[in-house]
Amino acid sequence: MRDGMVSRGLRNFGMARSVIVVFLVYLLAHAFYLGLPMGQLFSSMLVRFGMNGILALAMIPTIQAGMGPNFALPLGIICGLVGGTAVIELNLRGATAFAAAIVVAVVLGAATGWLYALLLNRVKGQEMTVGTYFGFSIVSLMCIFWTLAPFHNKEMIWPYGGTGLRNTITLKGWFDRILDNLWSFRVMGVDIPTGTLLFFALFCLLMWMFLRSKTGVAMTAVGNNPRFARSMGLDVDRYRLIASVVSNALAAVGMLVYAQSFGFLQLYQAPLFMAFFAVASVLIGGASMKRITLSHVLIGNFLFQSVLVVSMPVANVVFSDNMSEILRIIISNGIILYALTRKEADAA
């Protein structure tokens, strides 16, 4: 009886999750054994947890609405980047800059999410494939924008000759670490990025409230069973649209939070693969292509980012320099493949 409960508990926790937990514990032990600075390691685990959180959170609306993970995340991310570059161009600084960037990003994210949903509602059943390639094509289209857009701020454009914005724009002096440093403190050698964590918590709370609102429940019904939703007069396309709008706006905000921790805005090809890491992190947390909860996001985001943070120094000491990057690709895509091939109880 007891044995049954243990194995069932393990199954509920999920194979993938268990493997990753074991892997993480091993990595931490190894790091300790190698004498790496553990305090620093834990600090960066917390920072990465906070800075990637909202991007992972953006997966909730689309999965709930039955559109699968939002592989078109780069669309929202780029809106965040546009917000970021716009405030720098306007020479805003500090909290004002960050707030203004978020406003711009949210508006753009929501608008583009709306347009994107018009496409998605035409290709039901192929959302993931179309999303991936839509994300890619937006990234390359925006490359043209970064090259041609009339930005003038000297800190953003190439210093000598060349047209367009730089690949990487430093945020030092603009809104670098503005949340990380807010109310941050140090305990037992670990820096706590209070602002970032609180900001993420705020968005989790908002998401929780959204999911338990009338609209949120309707969206869940649409995702669970479109025929059920239609039978009570819900407009399926409309709720898919709402999901896309919310997800993209979150991605835009998420990008800015990410950037303030990271310290740079990375343009051009940089957002290309960011969706996959966000998708992988929620899947590790136990989400599937059709079902996701807040706890999946929290657990998954923590596990995935922690593994990356800890594996980097460990792998680089033990193996070659590229090892951690390769590991990241294998883990994140491996987990998505695993989720794609897992049999799911069909809603229909």
């Binding site: 592989f71 496409l119 035409r122 290709v123 039901k124 059943g125 192929q126 993931m128 494939t129 179309v130 991936t132 390639y133 839509f134 890619f136 094509s137 390359s140 289209l141 490359c143 043209i144 090259t147 041609l148 047209t163 367009g164 996959f276 193996f319 070659s320 590229n322 090892m323 390769i326 590991l327 690709i329 294998i330 895509n333 491996g334 998505i336 493949l337 794609l340 091939t341 049999k343």
Partner: protein
């Protein structure tokens, strides 16, 4: 009107290529040369996508694995210092078992993700790329021994060979060994003198001879004939039956899962051979880059030719390759002349190769809805 509507995608790209060619200012003979080279180089890869489409599995983004098999075979052949046509031939022989293995695994994976083959293929490509890097970057020279020290990255101290394959592997020893089997050159008449004589004040770049790798084209022709033949065999009929309706095929006693695996194995093997043709023309192997875009470019080419996720022909593959690569050649120059920036053309080209996928799928969905409405009346 019907013709226009049916062929809207290829027609749009014909117009785009025409405009691009006009603004690029490239000479006709140069353009022709480039296009012929690229057609010879890429057609094989694009054609390898057809079988899974007809077997109802959509566009096989998993052909990246075939390309990897080809590259691993090349690496082995270079390491063994085989040269010339023998080198290419042994690469083919070596690549096939690898491709079959990769294709078989891909097929099994796709059977577990029915209806989601395309996204699975895309992610599988990324995943396999990770494993490929793991092998080439950390295992080679460490676990896997290498004969030629020149193939390994230098050690950190710079003293000797370290771990991992170099970024570029020289394939000059086998370059053009298929193309050179039979090659003809046609010299276009130089019309500049004629223009000067007529007193026209036009600047036309000098004409260069056009090289046609007839041998490669013969092999592609052979492949097309092979495809024609395949779809007149029992196996080909099974592919089509499974592609139309999995359930009915199953009920009729066709082993659907095995047929689907066979389709992917065929596709992967052909993609491997296609990548061999591609690389023997290029003359060098970007160890970590040559295969990455193979899937995207091939898929984009096929779609530009007017194919959909459910329908594709050899003709569409060839037309699509022609158009896509014409765009490839002309867009940087056209971008420079129009926007004053080479990069813009480059970005535009990448944008097209991604965007065409979304557009084609949306058009397909739209057409399906329209057909259904028409059917109701």
């Amino acid at each position: 009107m019907n013709f226009v509507r049916k062929n809207s995608v290829p027609l749009f790209f014909v117009a785009l290529c025409g405009t691009g060619a006009y603004y690029s200012g490239l000479g006709a003979s140069f353009l022709l040369n480039e296009i012929i080279t690229r057609l010879a180089r890429n057609s094989f890869l694009v054609i390898s996508l057809i079988i899974p489409v007809l077997a109802g599995m959509g566009l096989n983004f998993g052909i990246v694995l075939g390309a990897m098999a080809a590259q691993l075979a090349y690496i082995l052949v270079v390491n063994l210092e085989f040269r010339g046509f023998v080198g290419v031939l042994s690469t083919c022989v070596l690549s096939i078992p690898l491709s079959v293995l990769f294709g078989w695994l891909t097929g099994i994976l796709f059977n577990k993700a029915k209806g989601k083959e395309m996204i699975t293929g895309i992610i599988l490509g990324f995943f396999a790329n990770g494993l490929y890097q793991l092998v080439c970057l950390t295992f080679v020279g460490w676990i896997i021994p290498v004969r030629l020290a020149s193939m390994l990255l230098p050690d950190k101290s710079g003293a000797g060979p370290g771990i991992g394959l170099v970024n570029t592997i020289d394939l000059r020893s086998v370059q053009y060994s298929i193309d050179n089997l039979w090659k003809i050159r046609i010299t276009m008449p130089d019309i500049r003198n004629f223009c000067a004589w007529m007193g026209w004040d036009v600047t036309i770049p000098p004409s260069i001879p056009i090289t046609i790798p007839v041998g490669t084209f013969l092999i592609i022709g052979l492949l097309c004939a092979g495809m024609y033949f395949l779809f007149r065999t029992k196996l080909g009929q099974d592919f089509r039956a499974v592609g139309q309706d999995r359930t009915i095929a199953e009920v009729s006693g066709i082993a659907v899962d095995r047929v689907r695996v066979a389709a992917i194995v065929f596709s992967t093997v052909l993609a491997g051979l296609g990548q061999i043709v591609f690389l023997q023309n290029m003359g060098n192997l970007q160890t970590y880059g040559s295969h990455v875009q193979v899937g995207t470019f091939a898929v984009a080419s096929l779609l530009i030719g007017g194919a959909s996720v459910a329908r594709a022909t050899v003709g569409q593959a060839l037309l699509g390759t022609l158009l896509f690569h014409t765009l490839f050649v002309v867009s940087p120059q056209a971008g420079k002349n129009l926007m004053g920036n080479v990069q813009v053309g480059e970005f535009f080209r990448v944008f097209i190769s991604y965007a065409v996928f979304c557009v084609a799928l949306a058009l397909h969905a739209w057409r399906r809805i329209r057909d259904r409405n028409a059917g109701d009346e």
